[in-house]
């Protein structure tokens, strides 16, 4: 991303000393990850701007690898003394062995130019951020008299990172994120219903030149109003049509996690040993792409200093690759794929997705609905969860409708859908031509959350289990 200053977070000579200290007990690899993040958030609830929050998170994580063992220490003390102490702790953790003197020649790493920031959010007056919340509140409440509560949140962050390691990698990035979300409650005869909408990109405040806050809020409000008429979702297996955009969550859960090389390497993925095999319908091509300009999972370099990449994971149904971080790639003697990510300087990196999506097919989305006699149309997906070893996964439908005789009819109440990843991938029988990315997501793994994007065209799964209550 475009950068405003060239002054490094830590001077190169200090970095070299820290990396050498990391290897002082004989480890073959040492790494420093430095982060300096400034964030602003603001929340409106119940008609009031409740609080504006300013945050500063700054620190360094030192990783040392000796054989199969990783030592890790982190510190918020970025002085030379603080960093050396952390490096010593990480080195001691990794190995009690022979010392040695190591000199390291640092080489700048190519950074994928993700996008240009027009207006850095930290240069924008807080009053303008707060005004967005008030506009969203007014727009949502204006939709219908049944809207009884609105909460809106704004958040931005500018994160400088620096990664250097004993292999000579020297890499830096500036990651900018701007986000807005609106939650709405409508009250009707059958109780309360909720609507939710969010918008987030790896760009600055120009986000709001390109997107309309009122439209975001109105859609959330309409979702809640529509659901006031919703009937209980059906129970049991039926055809499911997934709308473009947020439907990408399906692939994040059904195969994304299972294609992470750390899980594959430990034999805890249902996709282990399946390279080159048909694992999905030939209609399915799955890509993980950290270079997608402006998308929520876009990064210039990953958190191990490797430039982000576009990786094809499944091509026309055939498994073509997993996603890789430094440790797993080294073990397999292959290249990293730009998927080594971490929540913050206080966390170890691991294999993570970036922007994961399915590419276009050829069907008109309206024809997909017309071709469906009886099923469920999921217009907006919520989160999900997967057991990568068995492949069983769930995802929530926050806006869904019944399909009867090829037409969308009544709205449905919320619930989960459940399926088995490899089976669902094979059961995709229609793929639309209306690809879109969904909203900003946070993916959780091993206690760490990282920003990710998901996307897909409208598609149909010929059978999935709907977790509702109606016969």
């Amino acid at each position: 991303m475009s950068s405003r200053s060239n002054s490094p977070l830590i001077e190169p000579d200090v970095i070299a000393k820290v990396l050498a200290k990391g290897r002082s007990t004989g480890a073959e690899f040492s790494e420093i990850y430095v982060e300096d993040k400034r964030s602003t958030s603001a929340g409106l609830d119940d008609g009031k701007v409740e609080q504006v929050t300013s945050g500063r998170d700054r620190g360094a994580g030192i990783r040392v690898i000796a054989g199969e063992t990783t030592g890790f220490a982190h510190t918020s003390d970025l002085s030379e003394r603080g960093l050396l102490a952390a490096a010593e702790a990480a080195a001691a953790a990794a190995k009690q062995g022979d010392g040695g003197v190591h000199t390291i020649a640092l080489q700048p790493v190519f950074r994928h130019p993700v996008n240009t920031i027009v207006q850095f959010p930290d240069t924008v007056a807080k009053a303008r951020k707060v005004e967005l919340l008030q506009r969203a509140n007014a727009a949502a409440r204006g939709v219908h008299g049944a809207i009884v509560q609105v909460s809106a949140g704004y958040g931005d962050s500018v994160k400088q990172i620096l990664i250097a390691n004993s292999d000579g990698v020297f890499s830096a990035d500036e990651q900018v994120r701007t986000l807005m979300r609106v939650s709405v409650i409508a009250n009707g005869d059958a109780g309360m219903q909720t609507g939710y909408n969010s918008l987030g990109h790896t760009i600055g405040f120009e986000l709001f030149d390109e997107h309309d806050v009122e439209e975001l809020a109105v859609r959330a409000a309409q979702q809640a109003i529509t659901k006031l008429q919703a009937r209980p979702a059906p129970s049991g297996a039926m055809q499911v049509v997934i709308k473009q955009g947020s439907g990408g969550v399906l692939f994040h859960e059904a195969c994304g996690h299972g294609l992470e090389a750390d899980l594959v390497g430990k034999g805890s993925s249902v996709y282990r040993g399946k390279m080159g095999e048909l694992v999905a319908s030939p209609l399915v091509t799955v890509i993980d792409d950290g270079t997608m300009a402006g998308e929520w999972g876009a990064i210039g370099v990953d958190d191990e200093g490797h430039a982000s990449q576009k990786n094809t994971l499944i091509e026309n149904g055939i498994l073509t690759d997993y996603m890789w971080d430094y440790i797993r790639a080294r073990k397999e003697g292959r290249k990293q794929s730009g998927n080594g990510r971490r929540q913050s300087y206080a966390d170890l990196p691991m294999v993570r997705m970036t922007n994961t999506f399915v590419t276009n097919g050829s069907e008109n989305p309206d024809d997909i609905i017309r071709a469906t006699d009886k099923g469920v149309y999921v217009a907006k997906l919520g989160g999900g969860q997967v057991d990568t070893a068995s492949g069983d996964f769930v995802f929530g439908m926050v806006e869904a409708y019944l399909i009867e005789n090829g037409e969308i009819t009544e709205p449905l109440r919320e619930g989960n859908l459940i399926g088995n990843g490899p089976q669902v991938l094979k059961d995709i029988d229609l793929m639309g031509n209306d690809f879109a990315m969904g909203g900003p997501g946070t993916c959780g793994k091993d206690g760490q959350g990282v920003p990710v994007g998901d996307g897909c065209p409208t598609l149909r799964v010929k059978s999935m289990t709907i977790g509702g209550t109606a016969a």
């Binding site: 409106l44 609830d45 009031k48 701007v49 609080q51 504006v52 929050t53 300013s54 945050g55 500063r56 998170d57 700054r58 199969e68 063992t69 990783t70 030592g71 890790f72 220490a73 982190h74 918020s76 702790a89 953790a93 990794a94 807080k126 009053a127 009884v148 509560q149 409650i185 009250n187 109780g191 309360m192 219903q193 909720t194 979702a233 129970s235 049991g236 430990k266 034999g267 249902v270 206080a346 170890l348 919520g382 989160g383 969860q385 057991d387 070893a389 068995s390 069983d392 996964f393 769930v394 995802f395 929530g396 109440r413 919320e414 619930g415 989960n416 459940i418 289990t465 977790g467 509702g468």
Partner: protein, 450 residues
């Protein structure tokens, strides 16, 4: 709190002393450390050793609130945080109820949060016991592999001070071990986990953690997808704990005040089966989340929320209490220095029944024992009450546990499930969660499978 942390208290005091006329200030200062050990195939996979610290400052003036935090205790940074929080005040909407907690005279109930043995426990012994856990687990069943065996401990020190006279500090530490398992049978793999928590490693029950991890994975081998039908579910204590935790947001006084709870306007109503009594009691030392003070520094206390099925009380922070013209129940929550206080239950407990899980199952003609759930965050809406979750477990017929089942959902609404409770177990398990667990039997739940 039981132990004072003088240097952090001094930092908090110094911030608060800078308050100007008409300005309320709260400073929350904390410091902590962690050790994380992971063993894989008998070797140390990673060892994490780390410390962190930070400060969060809340400023309230003329009914407007501003907040800022930084992950450092560097004096220059603290000055910047105070300046940011003050600057942020001007953007808030005046709220007549905004304000800090005021000491209410409720006495703290002393508890032990610091264990000297854990504080001095040698690293090599932590590694050795984690290796032992992996070995024990592998020995349970030849079909079982271990994905990872973990040891984690942490310590924390915190101090809070306010211009309204709150001044508290204390420290605590804790540890746990956990193990993740895989069980293979031909093409099929299932997963499991086990854990043990304690004040110090001497409290660990490695044998139990290993056995549960092996059982959870192997019992699902050969599981089928069940047919869809309405049925009775017996929730395992681990599942009940998650179910009870969801109720926290419906009993949260701020959500009630803002119209986000289906329990609003229902105090005094029969909202659950008469057998159901729900208490929030962080003063019970058996609770994993036991505490002596809440997130605003008021004494933690026992609150009966639902008694014999009748809704009795909501939980409050000082803010939500002022809004609803009542007093704080000592239920302010806080997610560390980077967050300002919210409201929530702190340590939820059900009054247990008298029957074991076996006895409860013996009373079920046709049902399913739910041992695991997934997707609670995506399929449960505590505002509408819609409840739908992925599940796995064992079919029950004529009072006996039968075939394992997976890849199905159970669904109802939270409102109905509370009224449809038909039995509560005696098998209390103090899980590492804000709610304990016990077996719970609920009728008329929809199971969706084939």
């Amino acid at each position: 709190m039981s132990n004072t942390v003088d240097d952090l208290q001094a930092i908090a005091d110094r911030v608060v002393a800078q308050a100007g006329a008409g300005e309320q200030i709260e400073a929350y200062v904390s410091r902590g450390g962690e050790t994380a050990i992971r063993i894989y195939e008998g070797e140390l996979e990673h060892f994490v050793s780390a410390q962190s610290e930070g400060v969060g400052i809340r400023v309230i003036k003329d009914g407007r609130t501003g907040f800022a935090y930084a992950g450092t205790l560097d004096p220059a940074a603290i000055a910047e945080v105070l300046a940011d929080a003050r600057d942020n005040v001007s953007f808030g909407t005046p709220d007549e109820f905004a304000g800090l907690a005021v000491p209410d005279g409720v006495a703290q109930i002393p508890q032990k949060f610091w264990d000297e043995e854990l504080a001095g426990y040698p690293t090599d012994k932590k590694i050795a016991l984690t290796k032992e856990l992996e070995k024990l687990t592998l020995g349970m069943d030849e079909r079982v592999r271990v994905d990872e065996a973990n040891y984690d401990d942490g310590w924390g020190e915190v101090a809070v001070a306010t211009t309204t006279g709150i001044r508290e500090s204390g420290r605590g530490n804790s540890c746990y071990v956990s193990v993740s398992t895989l069980a293979d049978d031909e093409e099929e793999t299932q997963t499991g986990f086990g854990f043990s928590v304690g004040d110090s490693p001497k409290d660990f029950n490695l044998q139990k953690a290993a056995r549960e991890a092996a059982e959870r994975a192997t019992r699902l081998l050969g599981a089928i997808k069940p047919p869809s039908k309405r049925t009775t579910v017996v929730l395992d204590p681990y599942v009940t704990s998650q179910f009870i935790s969801i109720l926290s947001s419906t009993l949260n006084g701020e959500n009630v005040a803002k119209g986000r709870s289906f329990f609003a306007e229902r105090l005094g109503d029969q909202v659950a089966d008469p057998r159901f009594t729900l208490v929030d009691d962080p003063t019970n030392p058996l609770a994993y989340t036991a505490t002596d003070i809440d997130g605003e520094g008021l004494a933690a206390r026992r609150n009966v929320l639902i008694e014999n099925g009748v809704l009795k009380k909501f939980v409050h922070s000082s803010y939500s209490a002022r809004r609803m013209n009542t007093t704080s129940t000592g239920n302010a929550t806080r997610g560390g220095f980077a967050g300002s206080p919210g409201v929530g239950c702190l340590a939820m407990q059900l009054v247990p029944g008298t029957q074991s899980q076996e006895e409860l199952i013996a009373g079920v003609d046709d049902g399913v024992l739910i041992q695991m759930v997934s997707g609670l965050h995506s399929g449960v809406n505590p505002i509408s009450g819609d409840f739908s979750t992925g599940a796995s477990g064992m079919l029950i017929s004529n009072g006996t546990v039968g075939a394992p089942v997976r890849e199905f959902t159970i669904a109802s609404t939270l409102q109905r499930m509370l009224l449809d409770i038909v039995a509560i177990g005696a098998d209390v398990d103090w899980l590492p969660s804000r709610a304990h667990g016990l077996s719970l039997v609920i009728r008329d739940v929809t199971m969706s499978g084939t």
